[in-house]
């Protein structure tokens, strides 16, 4: 205990709450409150309504929700596959090659996502890869952006993995594919599910690269939130944002249940 006197401790807690609540809790609360309101001209919002949610769960918004969910799941699965493959392949390499591979796969974190969007747009609007105007250009950009996080998370876990398990299995005659499937991947499962959750959340909220790329028939939720607030429909935008947060949280919750099951094994 750093602060012993009861009064000083109370004072520290008060300062903490004064800083923490307005900065971190208030933003989420006001977005939630605004999504149920029609006016906000006083201290509190007024004109309670559920109409924004009707708009946010029907028609265009519903389509955007499925677009976001499909994009995020596809990008997460692709990123997990590529990132895990790269991380496991790198773990078997010599130190020098491993560092090159790790650096290559981490590079997309450092490159601004707007630039990833621009690069994808430039590259896939000309032969040999003509993807511009299709949903695949959005999915490709999202995959690039989240692969780095999947790779980092799995690589860190693979480095801590005790090689004795894989060696024991191999010395008992298991083929490499079997070692991978029955020994290494189950041991990596907690980090894989953590990475899946991270990739999914990042892709659900991705705006920068998406703004550069999205075709009219593949509009993810963040773009819709921006479109709504840009034309002044702040309350509808808040309702769409709440739908976005809820969908993300539900998926994260489901993923974390897989994780706890895995860690009890």
């Amino acid at each position: 205990m750093l602060v012993h006197s009861r009064r000083a401790r109370r004072a520290v807690w008060a300062v903490f709450l004064v800083l923490f609540l307005p900065l971190f809790a208030l933003p989420l609360l006001v977005v939630l409150a605004a999504s149920f309101a029609t006016h906000w001209s006083g201290v509190l919002p007024s004109g309670p309504t559920g109409a924004h949610y009707r708009a946010a769960t029907h028609g265009e918004a519903l389509q955007a929700l499925t677009t976001s969910l499909v994009t995020a799941s596809t990008a997460s699965v692709l990123a997990l596959a590529a990132g895990t493959w790269a991380a496991l392949a790198a773990a078997a390499l010599k130190r020098r090659y491993r560092r090159v591979l790790d650096a290559l796969f981490v590079l997309p974190v450092a490159v601004p996502s707007v630039v990833v969007g621009l690069a994808t747009l430039v590259a896939f609007s000309q032969p040999p890869f003509l993807l511009n105007g299709t949903r695949w250009i959005v999915i490709a950009a999202h995959t690039v952006l989240v692969t780095a996080f999947a790779h980092q998370s799995v690589a860190a876990a693979a480095a801590r993995l005790d090689p004795a398990y894989a060696q024991a299995a191999a010395s008992l005659g298991a083929r490499p594919a079997r070692v991978l499937w029955t020994v290494q991947l189950p041991l990596l499962l907690p980090s894989l599910t953590a990475a899946a959750g991270l990739c999914f959340a990042l892709s659900m909220g991705e705006l920068s690269a998406t703004m550069m790329l999205y075709p009219p028939d593949w509009t993810p939720l963040p773009v819709l939130v921006y479109a709504a607030t840009d034309r002044g429909a702040l309350f509808t935008g808040s309702a769409v944002a709440v739908v976005l947060m809820t969908a993300t949280l539900l998926v994260l919750l489901a993923v974390s249940r897989i994780r706890t099951k895995a860690s009890y094994r």
Partner: protein
Amino acid sequence: MSEAVAAVRPRRGRPRGLPRPSTALLWALPPTALLAVVFLYPLALVVRQSVHPDTGGTSLQPYADVLASGAFREALWTTVWLALASTAGCLVLGFALALVIAFVPFPGARAVSRFVDVFLSFPSFLITLALVFVYGTAGLANGLWTDLTGAAEGPFRFLTTPWGVLLAEITYFTPFVMRPLLAAFSQLDTAQVEVAGSLGARAPMIVRRVILPEALPALAAGGSLVLVLCLNEFGIVLFTGAKDVTTLPMLVYGKAILESDYPGACVVAVVNVLISVGLYGLYRVVSRRAGA
């Protein structure tokens, strides 16, 4: 003789079933090829386009044009000072908040640190959206002011200035500093704090002499990550919607999508990539030194 030594030495190489170094290189090829197609090749095209003006040929004219333009210089300056100020703010605020959660724990402190994790999974533009309702022209703060004083308008109108972006960035990125700090604090032996306290050190001195040195690696790692993320932040600035707040990523978006000036956009993109990859390299070196 050498054969005898070789016989005694344990057999080098891996047990059967694990990849050999040469096959390991082969296995590393498919993901690398994929990355090359979807990321490295597009990035190379951006660099190529940046030296190919629309008029044709190869020249550095786009660079000369962009680097000389006032809009670019202003965006560069805005980006850098906003990122530096946000990082400083996040470090101070994150350190203070993590300190309280870890060393002056209160009922619910665990819930707060879990809330911080959840906060990280939300997109950044939500903060700007929320700030509109808190400090906007007809928001909570201004509403409170007009209700209390009877004035026609409230005093808070900083949202569309760089200060609004700064507030949003500090709010959104502080948890990125708090998480590594909380991890570092959980490994700190609390006996050190107790001993220092029983020897008569007061709280500020314990923080300065015992806790801060332990926290420095986590602060450095978190701070440089936040610096890179702030340099590349787009959603917050886009949602602010202010004409006079232009950062480098906004300039890339504006030139490419709104003006269709691709060579110009590519030039700004190359500059932006150089700055942030350089800083990120520094971050990797720092965090590896720190063992984080």
